[in-house]
């Protein structure tokens, strides 16, 4: 058990160190793989540049005006801003990110997008979401759950903050079969 906890802490520190060190997101090439022209026109260039996701959860989320949504692992805010546009000023969008500097980036991009009035960014971990119980209608995330060493804990937290009947819509990567041990055991690979 103690070794497992050390291992989890090691993964967490490796991921956060790698995440804090990046100077930019995956950029427009990756964004164009996941978002269409209309969606990209809805967010400021900085949010596009900082896109780090692996899909487009907002497109599948069927958000409605007036809903409250949390974006777990919001990064530069591209999905938070798209979600904010879908829920509108009668709704509420919360971006959650482990790095305060990334939250600052999200706030700047939300202001540039004109959605700052009903959008906020909070620093926190997905394994301890700083939101009350049953406070959101929808949770989205994009390429983030895979970075957690405590995925079940993160999912339990999302369950807690969702209202009964609330929904989760996540884009992520799955791996079938085994990766070569050299890759699976490489600390840097965890961060990717």
């Amino acid at each position: 058990m103690a070794r497992d906890l050390m291992f989890q802490q090691e993964i967490k520190e490796t991921v956060q160190r790698a995440y804090a060190a990046i100077a930019t997101g995956a950029g427009e090439t990756v964004a164009r793989r996941h978002y269409n022209d209309h969606e990209l026109a809805e967010v400021p260039p900085g949010a596009v540049q900082w896109a780090l996701g692996v899909g487009n959860p907002v497109r599948y989320a069927r958000l409605e005006s007036g809903q409250a949504v949390v974006d777990v692992g919001s990064g530069g805010g591209i999905d938070t801003i798209l979600a904010a546009r879908r829920v509108g000023p009668e709704g509420r969008a919360v971006g959650l990110d482990v790095l305060e500097e990334m939250c600052e980036r999200g706030r700047r991009h939300a202001a540039q997008a004109g959605v700052e009035g009903w959008t906020e960014f909070r620093q926190g971990e997905m394994e301890g979401i700083p939101l009350p119980d049953e406070s959101v209608d929808m949770a989205i995330s994009n390429g983030v759950l895979n970075l957690s060493a405590r995925k079940s804990r993160a999912l339990a937290e999302i369950f807690r903050v969702l209202r009964p009947g609330g929904r989760i819509c996540m884009a992520d990567l799955t791996v079938e079969g085994e990766l070569p041990p050299e890759v699976a055991n490489d600390h840097s690979a965890w961060a990717g």
Binding site: A18, Y19, V54, G55, K151, S152, L173, G192
Partner: protein, 69 residues
Amino acid sequence: MAERVFAGKLQRAGFTDVWVGGHRPFGIDQAALYPLFTPEVIQLMRDTIPADHQDHVATGVIVKARRPR
């Protein structure tokens, strides 16, 4: 994490109506576009993953589920 493991974790957390779709292959060339993958990791993947699997190392998916009422 395998797709069935992902779905199982959601169910154990209490979610229902689990749906997995939107499958898209994710290869090493795509991974190389993300700054969280270091050049060393990308090279390690190119060196150790069989050539015929390098364009589909992982699968991008959309996963949806619901908290029961």
